[in-house]
């Protein structure tokens, strides 16, 4: 009887080897055709020398080879039972997969924190009087994007050039009111966040948020003639605003933005004489009303309490 079985085994082994080799060639060819799969030369992080950093203008084009760590080697080493010998200074061993972050954590958490924001502001849309304000906000963040809070401001006013020119050139005395104080209950919503690099070196994270609120304020008539006293107005004052916030560290942020305080103000009547609107009450009862948008630019430095926070999820 002829030994058929060994021959069959030899042929089968040859076929398997050939098919395996063929399959390997096919996969390499397919990989070469597919743009999304790149086979790159292995390079450990140690092989990256300091000379391989950015050029003079800090720009490297993507034709250069990307060097990565050896994932298999790192994984095998990390999973082996080799005993660790501790001694000498602690150094960090680069492990390639530790740099893989599926979702980067937010650099700053606001949820259940209180923001105390002292700020200063100035009028943007009044060409007769420029108001400066000093104020503070106290906000509580229900979530990372929603907050409510209160604010208060004190104002001082300064006449601008047209206030004087109108009197001298057009022989008219402007009718204007100045603001004394304001307060509001506000709600904040943070729909935009981002980061930017400064001069290719420093990364700064920031966010933009919108504010809407309702409050009260007091305005005061600046008398055209000191013989006829002015009066004060109590104003119901809704407001809307848009702001940017820059994160400095875990407890400090800088905010700047615009706020539009909307109200109906009462102005001194134009016809005042000893027999007409002579007193403040009479003038106030015959005051001229006008719809006012007081747009202010505000900038402030926030302190957040608690001063730090803990992440509740893995990195």
């Amino acid at each position: 009887m002829r030994p058929i079985v060994p021959k069959i085994l030899v042929v089968a082994l040859l076929c398997f080897t050939a098919s395996a080799a063929h399959a390997q060639k096919k996969s390499k060819a397919a990989a070469a055709k597919d743009d999304e799969i790149e086979i790159e030369e292995e390079a450990t992080p140690d092989s990256i020398t300091p000379d391989e950093g950015p050029g003079e203008d800090g720009i490297e084009l993507e034709e250069d080879t990307v060097k990565e760590g050896d994932l298999e080697a790192d994984t095998a080493e990390f999973g082996s039972d080799t005993p660790t010998i501790k001694g000498g200074p602690v150094t960090r061993t680069p492990v390639s997969w530790k740099d893989i972050l599926v979702v980067i954590r937010k650099p700053f958490l606001k949820v259940r924190r209180v923001e105390m924001l002292p700020f200063v502001g100035t009028t943007m849309n009044d060409n007769m009087l420029r108001h400066y304000s000093v104020g503070a906000q106290l906000n509580y963040y229900l979530t990372d994007v929603l907050a409510f809070g209160v604010e208060g401001q004190l104002y001082v006013s300064q006449p601008r050039e047209p206030f004087d020119l109108i009197g001298r050139q057009a022989r008219r005395l402007p009718t204007v009111n100045e603001y004394n104080w304001s307060g509001a209950l506000n709600f904040h919503y943070v729909p935009v966040y981002g980061k930017f690099a400064i001069l290719d070196k420093h990364l700064v994270t920031w966010e933009a948020f919108f504010t809407a609120g309702i409050g009260a304020a007091q305005s005061q008539v600046i008398e055209r003639d000191v013989n006829y006293p002015g009066f004060k107005n109590f104003l119901i004052q809704p407001n809307v605003g848009a702001n940017m916030r820059f994160f400095l560290n875990r407890a400090l942020t800088v905010s700047l933005g615009f706020r539009d305080y909307i109200f109906i103000d009462q102005f001194e009547p134009t016809d005042r004489s000893p027999t007409m609107n002579a007193t403040a009450d009479q003038a106030k009862s015959n005051a001229d009303s006008a719809f006012i948008n007081n747009v202010m630019f505000q900038v402030g430095l926030s302190v957040w309490f608690p001063l730090s926070f803990d992440y509740t999820t893995f990195r």
């Binding site: 203008d57 800090g58 084009l61 993507e62 650099p107 000093v134 070196k201």
Partner: protein, 307 residues
């Protein structure tokens, strides 16, 4: 009290500005140490990671470097005293690199009276008042105001900040901040009819036309309302600007800018220095603040990307 609050205001602005500058450096250090979560109790050696010496941003699209930018734009004055100028124009800019560029812009504008003018004019008399001759008439007041049909600037621009943002967790866009400085130009125009501006020698005595000998003179009338406004012509000055590109894709960007064209001007065309006649001395160096919005087209349309 007022001065104290003003000092507090300026100190606040200054401290906030330097807070951003100083704080960003501190934050950047934290970035080098795996972000702000890097604890302060760890040693410096343990805190540093492999990314410390790497570029701040990888695979960044070079949205402006070595590209030509053409931007049709709209512009309007902010808080103008007597007339708003609203216009359309074109900005052309070439970006030498990722940060530095140079360019020029020109805007054709129309004018709209401000609310202040709308309030003053109805209260003015139609004809000159004998009781108060220094009170301008409606026509005198309006005809002294100037317009700015053309303005523009040539500038150098610096783009030190770039980044990306997410809006409503849906839109992810790149942006950059830029700052510009250069020379401004404006063509001012005022038209005062001879019947209104009929003082041939403002602030000076003039020969009496009724005197045939020509020796008698008339004293100055010291009424600036009938003097020529002297607020038209070409003006050159300083230009400052700051803005943001919000990139819609690799070659289109929304361009939002605040621009200040500062040059000598007398917008009211009236007596400013209280010498009771209009002269060039009434002009002063004024800031003309504009806000603009445009759509930037970057050429070539394909942008390179960093490693």
């Amino acid at each position: 009290m007022r001065k104290h609050l003003q000092i507090v205001f300026f100190l606040g602005v200054a401290s906030a500005f330097f807070g951003i500058a100083g704080g960003s450096s501190a934050w950047a250090q934290s970035d080098d140490t795996s972000g702000p979560e890097g604890g302060g109790h760890q040693s410096e050696q343990r805190r540093r990671n492999d990314l410390a010496s790497q570029p701040a941003v990888r695979h960044r699209i070079l949205l402006v470097a070595n590209r030509f930018e053409a931007t049709p734009l709209f512009e309007s004055t902010v808080n103008a005293d007597f007339r708003h100028f609203v216009g359309a124009g074109l900005k052309l800019e070439y970006h030498l690199g990722d940060k530095l560029s140079f360019g020029a812009l020109g805007v054709f504008s129309g004018s709209i009276d401000t609310g202040l003018v709308d309030k003053i004019v109805p209260t003015l008399p139609d004809a000159m008042s004998q009781e108060n001759p220094l009170e301008p008439t409606k026509d005198q007041f309006r005809s002294h105001l100037n317009t700015m049909p053309i303005h523009g600037a040539a500038y150098v621009s610096l783009t030190p900040w770039y980044g990306k943002l997410a809006a409503f967790d849906a839109a992810f866009v790149n942006f950059d901040f830029y700052f510009q400085a250069g020379m401004s130009y404006a063509k001012l125009k005022s038209s005062c009819a001879d019947s209104i501006c009929n003082d041939p020698t403002p602030g000076q005595s003039r020969p009496d036309p009724a005197d045939p000998t020509g020796e008698a003179t008339l004293p100055p009338d010291f009424n600036p309302n009938n003097d020529a406004p002297l607020n038209s012509g070409n003006r050159f000055g300083i230009y400052l600007g700051a803005g943001i590109h919000v990139f819609l894709n690799d070659f289109l960007a929304l361009d939002l800018t605040v621009r200040d064209y500062a040059f000598s001007d007398n917008p009211s065309g009236a007596d400013y220095n209280a010498d009771r006649f209009v002269s060039d001395a009434d002009s002063r160096f004024l800031n003309h603040l504009f806000m603009g919005v445009g759509l930037s087209v970057m050429l070539p349309m394909k942008a390179k990307r960093t490693r």
